[in-house]
Every structure is written in C-alpha cells, then in structure tokens.
C-alpha cells in the first residue's frame, strides 16, 4: 500500500519540524519520521506545540519507526485532547510498503482515541499486529477502517462487540494466516449476521439498553447495562462519554427488573431505542461494509445470501481477497444484491467477465480491477495447501 496523498479531496503534506507557513490553509498534516534511526516524538511534539488547535479537523500519522509501538504518540494526542477538540478524522498508520510492510507494522492500543476524542467521526488504522482497543464505545464515530495483513480473532471479536451506534462505514482487512489471521469463516460471521443466533461467548447474563433523545437543542443518550446483579447507567450529551453510575442489587432478576423499569420510563419521556434494529446487526446505521483481504471470500459471498444487513447497505466491498468465479456466482444469486448501489471486487481471482456483466446487469456498479491469478505472486512459495493468497499479506 502506498501512502495517501489526499484525504476528502484535501492535500496531505508531511509535517516538517518548524511547520511550513506557505502550506495551504486546508492542508492535512502527516506526522511521520522518514529516517531509519529518527524518532517521531519530536515531530509530534513540534506539531502539537505549534499547530494544535480546535481548527485541526483531520490528522494523518505516518511511519513511526520500526518495531516500536505508536502508543507514545497516541498518548501525546490524548494529552492535547482539549486543544484538539475539533479533530474529526484520524488516520493512524499511513505507512507505505516502502516504509514498513503492513504485516510488520507494530500497532498499539487505539482505545484512548475512542475514549478521548468524542467528536471523532473517521478512524482509519493500518497494521493489525498488536492492535487493540481498551475502550470500545464511541457515540459519534461514523467510519472505522482497519487495514491489516492479518487480524487476530481476539481483535475481531472486540470489534464485533464495539458500541458504535452511529457507524455508517466498517471496513476490515482480515488478511492471511501467515501474518496473524488466526480465525476461520466463523470469525467473520458476526460481521455478516451480527451476533444474533450465534452461540457466541457473549455473557448471557448481561443486557444493554441504549436510548437516545433528540428534540430542539437537546441531544442526549441514556444507556443501562445489567450484568449479573449490577446495573450501570450512563447518560449525557450525544458525542460525549457522559456520566456513569453503578448500583448493586440483591440478584440478577432484581437488576433486570430495574433496567426494564428505568428504560420504560425513559421511552415514555420520548427516548427512542437505538442499536437494536430489526436486522440485529452490530451497527444499526451501517451503510458501507468492507469484508476485505479475506481468504474465505467465496464463502463470505455465499453467506451473504442470507444476510439481512444487505438490505440497508449501499456499498459492499469484498476486494483484495480470494474470491473466484464461484463466489461471484453466489453474489449473482443473492436476493439482496439488486438493492446495493456499488460493489468493489478489486484484486480477487475472478476470471469470468460474463459473470461480472451479469452482476452489473442486476443494478450495482461493479468494480473488478486488477484480478490476479496464481502465478502473479511475487515470491515462489513453498508448496502450501493454499494456491491462492489474499492481496495484502506481507
């Protein structure tokens, strides 16, 4: 992956220490270290000292060095959360293949970003190695993109249980089992069907009610979480983390009754339930779903035939994977596919142009550039049970 030059139509420039007075007003700065033995902290520190202001709405973090975690620079951002209160878009890890191959980027904990930038709407992350989220809720986030050469099942489980009630775009690059993807098609299923009906390891004793109230200038939420005999309520302005109160009951039943009572009273006052729509999907407002760089793209395509989430999707991205004509035929058979506006199938293993035409004829705008075949692989691999590889591994 190359680094990006523009984001949202705006130019990105590498931030030079001392800044650049001649840069365009709407420039997006990329904080990075270019030299092998350089350090990114002084660059970030210089940027924060000279440029941190509520006017910074977008920030890109590039290469932070080799084999070290970005946690220190994430901490620096968090330390400036008040001055960066206008930050809406953040790309952590705009690191090109030239700088560090995606599978060998050492990432870190992005939880502090979710916890401390409540106004954030767009979070893009490259590099799945050591990626984690110690905080998994965000009221405002609309776009979450995780590009990786291999995501482990622990992280995927965490993502599938995130509370992102306003998420409209989710893109995940599952990657290769050689570079950290340790799951199976079952690991991917929650992103196709949600957690409904899956005999998952979700705590059966816990339940959550999330409500929102919007009227005039009032935009607030109320959330109740019952876990065993404990009831935790959280409330506040939408986009903030609000206040939290925890109360212990004699037993779980008493806590459930209390949660029901409290939520009914809120609904009476005009609060509406958000996050438990009919599809039972993870993210109720999702419009764009990317299940990318997937070894099981054909199986994903097959499962999508029974995925009601497609009814609400505008865009489906199944690029960079191991989809063959078999998976493509499954998409054509999908009853929901006519309602999708666009489908991205770039860099798969599709060879049948007629099938692609059939898919387009059903309505969606189909992109299917750079299809690969077995012999395209750069390296002569040792005989392996897999003949095909996901586009982004190493």
């Amino acid at each position: 992956m190359p680094t990006i030059n523009t984001l949202f139509g705006r130019t990105i420039r590498d931030y030079p220490i001392g800044g650049d007075a001649n840069a365009p007003d709407d420039v997006i700065w990329r904080i990075l270290v270019e030299d092998y033995d350089g350090e990114i902290e002084p660059v970030m520190s210089d940027f924060l000292a000279n440029h941190a202001s509520p006017d910074v709405d977008t920030l890109v973090i590039g290469n932070w060095g080799y084999d070290n975690s970005p946690d220190p620079i994430i901490d620096m951002l968090v330390d400036h959360k008040e001055t960066l209160a206008g930050l809406k878009s953040l790309f952590v890890g705009d690191i090109s293949y030239d700088e560090n191959e995606i599978s060998w980027i050492v990432n870190g904990d992005m939880g502090p970003i979710l916890a401390n930038f409540p106004q954030l709407e767009y979070l893009r992350i490259r590099g799945g190695n050591e990626l984690s989220f110690n905080h998994t809720e965000h009221q405002n986030l609309k776009h979450l993109i995780i590009e990786s050469g291999g995501l482990d099942s622990g992280l995927l489980d965490t993502v599938s249980k995130m509370k992102l009630p306003n998420l409209i775009e989710l893109e995940l690059w599952f990657g290769s089992d050689n570079y950290g993807f340790d799951g199976s098609i079952d690991t991917i299923k929650p992103f196709i069907f949600g957690h409904q009906g899956s005999s998952d390891d979700q705590n059966p004793d816990a339940s959550v009610v999330y409500l929102e109230f919007s009227e005039g200038t009032s935009n607030k939420f109320w959330e109740g979480t019952q876990d065993g005999a404990q009831l935790t309520t959280r409330w506040g302005k939408i986009g903030t983390n609000g206040q939290t109160k925890t109360k212990d009951f004699d037993d779980a039943t008493a806590a459930i009754v209390a949660l029901e009572k409290a939520s009914k009273s809120k609904i009476k006052k005009g609060y509406v339930e958000v996050g438990s729509n009919e599809s039972g999907y993870l993210f109720p407002k999702l419009e764009r779903l990317g299940l990318c760089d997937c070894m099981f793209a054909d199986e994903v395509a097959s499962l999508l035939k029974e995925a009601p989430i497609l009814e609400q999707l505008e865009h489906l991205n199944l690029s960079l994977g191991v989809m063959t004509d078999v998976g493509l035929a499954e998409l054509i058979d999908n009853p929901y596919i006519r309602g999708i506006e666009s489908i991205n199938l770039d860099e798969n293993y599709i060879s049948d142009g007629d099938l692609l035409d059939k898919l387009s004829a059903l309505g969606p705008v189909v992109s299917a550039s750079d299809q690969r075949n077995e012999t395209d692989d750069l390296f002569e691999d040792y005989p392996d049970p897999y003949d095909f590889y996901v586009a982004v591994g190493e």
Partner: protein, 386 residues
C-alpha cells in the same frame, strides 16, 4: 614485472584481467589453475620470482575446484568428511553441499599460499591471501570492522541453531535479523528472518528438499523462497547452522520506485570507484538473482547528491580495514530516507562488474593502473605510445 594469476582458467574473470593487462601493454599473466596447484600437479613456488605480481582469483563456478577444496578441507580439525569421501562427492548443481568444509579447504589453501609467498620473494600481491581468507570469514570480518570502527550492520554473533537464534534475538531486543553462512557469498545460505509474538517469516534464496535418510538438502535457488511455518524455519536455520552461521541485525534498506536497494562499490587502492545500485523486490539484492541495476543518478535526485559521498566513505572505510588488499567489492546499505550508510559485505572477488567503466576504465583496467602506480611503474601503454 610479470603477473601470476591463480584462478579457474576458463572463468571470464581471467579473460577480463588478461584483457586489462593487454590494454596496459603488460605481458599476459601466467595462469595457474586452482585445480592444478590444489591437486599438487603444479609447484607454485617455481613460478614466483622477485618480479612476480600475484593475483588470486575466485575459486567459484568450477565443480572440480570445489571438489579439491572439499578434499583440502579434510585437513581442517572441523572437517566432517575425510579425503576419500570428499573425493567421491557427486556434483549436484546448486546444492549447498558441505559448504563449511569447502570454505575451510579454501582457508587451508590460502594459508598454504601465504606460506609459499613468505618463502618466495616476489614483487607484490594484489590482495594478500591473509586478507582474502579474512574477507571470506564473516565472523572475523565483523570483529575486524568493530575494531576498525567501520559502520556495518550490528553483529549479533554466531548461533548453533534456531533455538539459540531466538534466544540471541530476544536478548538483543531484535525482531529482524539476517542469518548468513559464516563463509558464504552470493546470497548462498542467507536468510532474512523476522518475527513477532504471533508469526514469523524467513525469506531466503535457500530451497529445502528432503534428502536421503530423513536429511534435508538445501539448494541455492534463483527464486526467492518464503517460509512462514515454524517447523520449516526451524529446519532451515538448524540445517544451515550445521555449516556455521552468523547473525546480524536486519537494517532495513532504502527503497526507490517500490524496490529496495543497496550499492555495490568497487574500492581500488583506497578509492571507491565503480558503483552499481542493485534494486530488488526482496531483501536479497544480488544481481544474479535477477535483480536489476539501478540508476545512481536517479537515486541521488531522490536522496541528495551527498548520498554518493556517504556510500564512498562507507565502502572506503571497509577496505581500509584490510591493509594488504588493493581492491574489493563492498556492498553498502543505504537506510530508508538515505541518512546513513553501512558496509554489509566485503568481497575479495567483488570486482566482476562487466560493462561498467569509471574514468574510462573497467574494474580490471583500473586495478592494473593502480598496481602500476603503487609499484612506481611508469605507465607502459604511455611509454609505448611515446
């Protein structure tokens, strides 16, 4: 003066050098085949006079020379097979077959050469056999570079196998390393290895094939292999380690146009001269692996003109550590961003870069001129022209 060339006579290196001598109006060198003197068919001492200038050429690319070195290696205490078995070894193209004993044989042969030179007065040696032996031993070269303060990829020592490799890397807080045969060249038995808590990878020109009796044979392969499974990597490293390996920190290389590169610089008489950038999609940049020569001009446009000075300084420092050598090829690593240069390898026979001239001279002609200058010889071709 009269040149004596100890070489594989059929090799193009010999023709190139003879050509350079002729261009400088020198008499052709007398050529002694490695196979002849190693087999004792020729008495080297008889060819050495006080006017002789000696040049030692590569013993590579000749299966019979390799067999002779294997036999010679039987005299070394670390030998694994005796002379009789060594003589019977069947040539198997590309296979890493007893590389350690062949290298030890080369070390023994160079010691013998050194003794012959000590006893027989001669005019000069282009590269002293003691230096050649040292350059062929990466462990000793690293020690020498450390003593001389030559910037190079940090040396993490020798390891006996995969387990010790992991131990050494943990101790050094290092996640990327090159594992190289202690006595190797041309990317033979070189492994670029990296790991983290979840996965690991070995990129190498070594192809493993099952040998007889559960053994593993390793072949030099022009196609770069990539191993991701622990058992494979363990087998690879353990098999290579039986032939002695060294470990270096894997310092990333700068990239240009999506390819990583390093620079082969031929240093002659203290000056870094012929330079060629080697562009590669893999961590192995050797040109014989199909990698292309890059354009140094373009690299300077990208990384600044001072890049050449840094490359030259790095290459010259490497050769300066070998005081008894006139020339060598030095592989210089440029770090991402172009800020630093490190000497990666020094090769006594790294001067074979056909079709490249510097100041109008190819590498061989440049060496002949440098030797003449050192010996205070007025240039013969100029004499002939006057």
């Amino acid at each position: 003066m009269k040149y004596l060339l100890i070489a594989n006579p059929e090799n193009r290196r010999v023709a190139f050098f003879q050509g350079a001598l002729a261009a400088a109006s020198h008499e052709p060198a007398t050529v002694i085949a490695h196979t002849d003197w190693l087999a004792g068919r020729v008495d080297l001492a008889a060819y050495i006079t006080p006017e002789t200038v000696i040049r030692i050429e590569s013993p590579g690319e000749n299966p019979e020379t390799q067999r002779q070195l294997l036999i010679r290696g039987a005299r070394h205490p670390d030998a694994s097979i005796d002379e009789v078995d060594a003589a019977r070894v069947q040539f198997d193209r590309g296979r890493l077959d007893h590389p350690l004993q062949k290298a030890l044989g080369w070390q023994v042969a160079l010691q013998e050469l050194e003794a012959i030179l000590d006893e027989n007065p001669h005019r000069a040696v282009m590269n002293h056999p003691g230096d050649v032996a040292m350059m062929f031993d990466k462990a000793r070269t690293h020690d020498l570079f450390a003593q001389a303060g030559v910037p190079c990829a940090p040396y993490l020592g020798r390891v006996s196998g995969y387990e010790e490799l992991r131990e050494v890397l943990r101790g050094a807080d290092c996640q990327r390393a090159f594992i190289k045969l202690r006595h190797g060249s041309s990317a033979s038995g070189v492994v670029a290895y990296r790991f983290n808590d979840r996965y690991e990878e070995a990129i190498t020109s070594s192809l493993m094939r099952p040998g007889p009796g559960g053994s593993t044979h390793i072949y030099n392969c022009l196609k770069i292999q990539r191993y991701n499974r622990r058992e494979q990597i363990e087998l690879l490293i353990d098999t290579l380690a039986t032939q002695q390996v060294i470990v270096e920190r894997w310092v990333p290389k700068a990239r240009y146009n999506g390819k990583q590169f390093d620079v082969r610089a031929v240093v002659i008489d203290g000056r870094s001269r012929h330079k060629v950038a080697r562009m590669s999609a893999s961590p192995m940049t050797n040109l014989h692996l199909g990698n292309e020569r890059g354009d140094l001009d373009e690299l300077c446009d990208e990384f600044g003109d001072a890049l050449l000075d840094r490359i030259d300084a790095s290459a010259e420092a490497a050769l300066a550590a070998f005081s008894r050598s006139l020339y060598a090829g030095v592989d210089v690593l440029v770090t991402p961003g172009g800020g630093s240069c490190f000497a990666l390898e020094i090769n006594a026979f790294g001067d074979l870069i056909p079709n490249l001239t510097h100041e109008g001279q190819d590498t061989y002609t440049a060496q002949v001129h440098a030797m003449d200058a050192r010996l205070g010889e007025d240039h013969l071709s100029e004499d002939a022209n006057s």
